[in-house]
Symmetry: C2
Subunit: 134 residues, 2 copies
DNA sequence: TTCGCACTTGAACCCTGCTTCAAGTCAATG
DNA sequence: CATTGACTTGAAGCAGGGTTCAAGTGCGAA
């Protein structure tokens, strides 16, 4: 047998929609390895590439970044993209942790209109108002 | 003097664009406190409301959620929204921490094509391929 | 009085990451 | 031979959160 998968099989195994696969193809992230009477056929290798794309997406990389990584000429090139993302990921985690603290704090407030009535919120708001430009 | 701020002043102090303020108005999140010859005027109070919106956004709430909170009739009502978001925030932080581990791992890989050549990546990919449906 | 800037409006546009649609093709099944 | 179901295409649509545009108004400064 040919060992080639249809787009539907690939989609099922990678847990994505077929429309997504065709979209990635348009974006240059993924190409079928063959066509059989017009239909796309994929090697298992290519299925793994698709899964890899999903993992990078979960790490917060944009499809543009992922394109950069997949089509990078050198190790250095793709590691630069990944390295930058690692830093921004750390920053994002820090921000979310701060936001979490804030939200937890807000939930301690016993007022109907937290923005205006709550002292705790008030302090946070003032911090923002006096903060330097973004 | 009137103590009322123009949209431009509000925008500058809250570090947002005037177009954003008008957009929030369309969405029902924020209303001017007066009009002077057609122009919007805001009380300091309302500026604080705008800043509060920004803080909730940073905590990952959608404008719809924020609308729910700001226009909530009762404490219980807005705390329910915030509480749900707190949970999803915790989950999001956990996911990002996992993604961070993954990306850090990927950056240890010394191959040009991590998806196909790297054993470490390979193991992760296989985990995904054999994972149950999303 | 004329400049120049901030403001007004509604409508259209942008970006990302897809999904949906219409119309048509192919292979197997009944 | 007709149907069924997965596939093909390009184009359009969606959601969220805004931004931009065109055409016009108001007001203080020179």
């Amino acid at each position: 047998m040919s060992e080639l998968l249809t787009i539907g099989e690939v989609a099922a195994q990678a847990h994505v929609a077929t429309s997504t696969i065709r979209y990635y193809e348009r974006r240059g992230l993924l190409n079928p390895d063959a066509r059989q009477s017009g239909r796309r056929r994929y090697r298992t290798e290519t299925l793994r590439r698709l899964v890899f794309i999903g993992m990078l997406q979960d790490a917060g990389l944009s499809l543009d970044d992922i394109d950069g990584i997949l089509n990078a000429a050198t190790v250095a090139e793709w590691k630069a993209i990944g390295g930058r993302r690692l830093e921004s990921l750390d920053e994002q985690i820090r921000k979310l942790q701060h936001a979490r603290e804030f939200l937890a704090l807000a939930l301690l407030c016993r007022f109907d209109h937290p923005a205006t009535d709550c002292k705790i919120m008030g302090a946070e708001i003032d911090r923002r108002l006096n903060a330097p430009a973004l």
